[in-house]
Symmetry: C2
Subunit: 287 residues, 2 copies
């Protein structure tokens, strides 16, 4: 393999990775090489542009830390995360639709009793979140684990502010498949845009905003784990979500409530909002 | 743009980057999105494989430092660097062929007088390197800057060993377009394979070796800067260079010499090698 030209190099590189013992790695490697080479042949980058590409990827990797995942942001902003999500969730009709996981989930989150307030003192409009988890046949699922996380009323997650974990927690559904908790209303927000991905969005003439939403991850035995958001109707960014994650079936409204007895029987002395959404899990795929 | 599916998402993302003010960035962004989405649609990565991809890119970025450029290694090992190099050097017949720049060039290298020894005491077989720099019409170029760098006799560059700069330097050609210097013989070597790219090569069933070579970067007014290597005939890795960089016109042999008067008139009391190669620069492209 000497004297490769602009065309012959691709088959040569594809052939060079043909000897691995793992079929899946071989298939992914060969597809990556073909698509990457086609991209390069189409845009014909100058050496300087190639260097800028190397720099961009390097800076993206070096921006990553325990509380920042810039490559997930890049994947999100290029629509790759939603594409992968969609490919992996060709669900039976009736199951709740999925959307991106996002970069703000924290493994080390707390488990709360039903009805707890997870705002941890972060200021904002009180929000009562409730719902039911059912299987595809409509039966409520007891003991499903419901993870929820969201931003504060300025659009920042706890990990972005550097303070203690807040506005995130894990619950177990009751015998009726129900869960409920108190928190504060989130807000639309820009994805972190002080890094390479923010520069890319600016160069592409795009805003960095995601519409207001609450994240959910719901798991139960024999069910596929559901990763999704609930979005809020009327948000100005619903039609231009920077990560392309909005599905109409996931958009709902708040119910505005005056002070008084809340759905959980608690006496609330401020106006508050209720977000109620029922989730349907898809049966676990048999591999 | 809600309810995007596996197909419609691509046009939506391509459309989202259509508003930037820079035509080139728009074109590159749109091509990247299309080829990346086609790759994803072809291989249908699971969520776990997508996470592994994110981790791989993150680790690749975090491996980069002042003396290690893991993304260049990745580009090299996937044949992208050579493809970009080839696209950018569609040269007139007669100009010296190009090959990859590699990750071991150092900006802060020393300038030497012709005939200097750049080995800086690194042990190895003495090597006399010489050549002539000419333009495409065959006229010698006086005052061309000739950068050269290479590995030691174990296949390591100075920056990999963490010691002072050695086996690299910059020269100016004389009135006859000639340059010459002393150094030590390099060796074939593995590209740094203790990082993510090394793991990738292993998973792909590939060896990490590059055949023995000496790097050159040669610049002169009104000429395109030449980045190339000279390879050594008979090397066991000439036909399986891990970065796909070998061209037959760049392969030559050493001349083995017994102790005595060297080509520069110096009296050498050890056996030594001579590497002689003449370079032809291509006229600078008018943008």
């Amino acid at each position: 393999m000497r004297d490769l030209n602009e065309i012959t190099i691709t088959d040569e590189v594809v052939g060079a990775v043909a000897g691995g013992s793992n079929d899946r790695i071989r298939r992914i490697s060969q597809a990556l090489i073909r698509h990457l080479h086609n991209f390069v042949r189409e845009v014909e980058p100058s050496q300087k542009e190639w260097e800028q590409g190397i720099d961009f990827l390097t800076q993206t990797g070096q921006m990553c830390s325990d509380v920042r995942q810039e490559f997930i942001l890049l994947s999100d902003a290029l629509g790759v995360s939603m594409l992968v999500d969609t490919i992996n969730h060709r669900h039976p009709d009736g199951a709740t639709e999925t959307t991106v996981f996002g970069p703000f989930f924290v493994e080390d989150r707390q488990e709360f009793a039903l009805g707890a307030n997870i705002s941890e003192g972060v200021p904002g409009v009180p929000l009562f979140v409730s719902g039911t988890v059912k299987d595809i046949a409509g039966s409520p699922i007891e003991g499903a684990t419901v993870d929820s996380w969201h931003s504060d009323d300025e659009g920042f997650y706890d990990v972005q502010k550097g303070h203690d974990l807040a506005m995130r927690g894990r619950f177990n559904t009751d015998a009726g498949g129900r869960f409920w908790f108190w928190t504060v209303r989130p807000k639309f927000y820009p994805i972190p845009n002080d890094g390479p991905v923010g520069k890319m969005l600016e160069a592409q003439g795009r805003h960095p905003f995601r519409p207001e939403h609450v994240h959910f991850m719901i798991a139960a035995p024999d069910q596929e784990t559901l990763v999704t958001h609930v979005f809020i109707d009327g948000d100005p960014y619903l039609d231009t979500d920077v990560v392309f994650g909005v599905k109409n079936s996931l958009v709902t409204g708040y119910r505005s409530c005056t002070p008084g007895i809340a759905p959980d029987g608690k006496n609330v002395d401020l106006p508050y909002l209720v977000l109620d959404y029922d989730f349907v899990l898809s049966p676990e795929k048999i591999p």
